[in-house]
């Protein structure tokens, strides 16, 4: 087999194997009791992205240099069926992840493109907001890389000025936390975990945690702001009901459980967010340490890769 093809198979196969092992680990940890605990949004996101990010890190910083430095040149060898199957599955996962992210990017761009010539700009709470005139009470941060806040006229008319400012402060909190970019990474994540229920659980819990954190950052624990945001949530939820009556084709009722939990949380005395078990700095240090720690193990890693290449032959 051509050495370039073999290198491609090795990279894809080892990525698939690493991501598979890490996905299994995440499923085990989650089902072992972590799902019952109050976990912050950072930890949930790290768990969700661990298989793909870990797989990529190991392949690019450990497997690739080990293979290039120890593989004899000009040597042709055959790949075993296990490596081929792993490589094919990885390719499929990467292609699906790429497709999902392209779809997400295209949809967001399309919405922003249509909002471009329509509506008007307003400045609320120091944020530029595109306001469009449609029947749905839509307020959102749209887009991954350069997110923009879009609101509809009916939200402005339903809310008082103070309430609308809190709504925009909530969306601005999403922008500053780069929640949409994180969402794009979750959507694109090419791993075996995406095909399990744990991935859906982790994503749902991460979204809910991100919403609560955005509420908290927007209101800065000020009771007046908390009440204003709670009132706005109820008004937007009510407006969804009205929009459904206006437009029977729209079958998207509001998630009352989502609104209820957030309103009750906003009206209760503010409690501190769950302590951070994982810091972004610690994750970055681990990511830097892995390639350094693997330097003396290149020969061993190469032997393992060779065993994987020949497995099943």
């Amino acid at each position: 087999m051509n050495s370039a093809v073999m290198l491609g198979l090795v990279l894809l196969g080892t990525y698939g194997l690493t991501a598979l092992v890490l996905s299994g680990l995440v499923v085990l940890v989650w089902n072992a009791g972590l799902k019952q605990k109050a976990v912050g949004s950072t930890e949930l996101l790290v768990l969700r992205l661990l298989p793909a990010a870990g797989g990529l890190l190991v392949v690019l910083t450990v497997v690739l240099p080990a293979f290039l430095s120890h593989e004899p040149h000009q040597q042709r060898e055959a790949a075993g069926p296990v490596l081929v199957v792993l490589a094919a599955l990885s390719f499929l996962a990467l292609a699906l992840g790429g497709w999902r992210s392209w779809q997400a990017f295209r949809t967001a761009r399309s919405l922003l493109g249509n909002c471009g010539p329509a509506g008007r700009w307003v400045v609320a709470g120091g944020q530029k907001v595109k306001v469009v005139n449609v029947p749905e009470p839509f307020v959102a941060v749209v887009g991954g890389w350069r997110p923009r806040i879009v609101a509809t006229e009916c939200v402005i008319s339903a809310c008082s000025e103070e309430e609308f400012q809190q709504v925009i402060a909530h969306e601005a909190a999403h922008v500053s936390a780069r929640d949409n970019l994180k969402q794009l990474l979750v959507i694109a994540s090419p791993d075996a975990l995406s095909w399990t229920r744990v991935a859906a659980d982790l994503t749902r819990r991460w979204r809910a945690a991100a919403e609560l954190e955005a509420d908290q950052r927007a209101t800065e624990n000020d009771p007046r702001k908390r009440v204003a945001l709670a009132a706005a949530l109820i008004k937007v939820a009510r407006a969804w009901g009205a929009a459904q009556r206006v437009r029977p084709v729209l079958s998207m009722p509001v998630a009352s459980d989502d609104v209820e939990a957030r309103v009750r949380k906003l009206l209760a005395p503010p409690d501190p967010l769950p302590p951070k078990l994982v810091s972004a700095k610690a994750v970055a240090w681990c990511a830097l340490l892995i390639p350094v720690a693997a330097l003396p193990l290149y020969s061993c890693v190469h032997k393992l890769v060779e065993a994987l290449v020949r497995l099943g032959l």
Partner: protein, 145 residues
């Protein structure tokens, strides 16, 4: 400009949710400004930086999306907007919002909405929550006094 052989098109809004490209938007903007049917040749004069065929293809795409009407004007086609500007843009965005918040699309869309629209509206529950908000507001006002 007269429209002697106007073609019949379906009344459904086929372009809904499909979005408009930048060139489609530019052409539609010009058609809205001119308020009459325009030929490709006329529109091309307004966009000299574009190839004639590009203008023609884009107008044909708008026609297939159901966003413009076209009729024979001599040997050429003349195009005019099918919807008023505000109505079309509002419909497009509304269609997008519906698509974006649809249950099946929720996991594959890059947006953070204030309220997720995936459950069931419960008016009684919203009334109860509203009462709680009013009570808290009154409590805060009393505290300020």
């Amino acid at each position: 400009m007269r429209h002697p052989q106007r073609e019949k098109v379906g009344i459904t809004f086929r372009g809904r949710g499909s979005g408009l490209g930048p060139l489609e938007t530019r052409l539609l903007e010009l058609l809205w400004v001119e308020k009459c049917a325009l030929t490709v040749r006329y529109l091309h004069m307004a966009f000299p930086d574009l190839a004639y065929t590009t203008v023609m293809t884009t107008l044909d795409r708008l026609y297939r999306k159901g966003l413009v009407l076209r009729h024979k004007h001599g040997r050429a086609f003349a195009y005019q907007p099918r919807y008023a500007r505000d109505r079309l843009l509002s419909e497009l965005i509304s269609g997008h919002v519906t698509d974006l918040l649809g249950v099946s699309r929720e996991s594959t869309v890059v947006l953070s909405t204030l309220v997720r629209a995936v459950g069931r509206t419960d008016t009684a529950l919203l009334d109860e929550l509203d009462a709680l908000v009013q009570a808290e507001r009154s409590r805060l006002k009393l505290g300020e006094k």
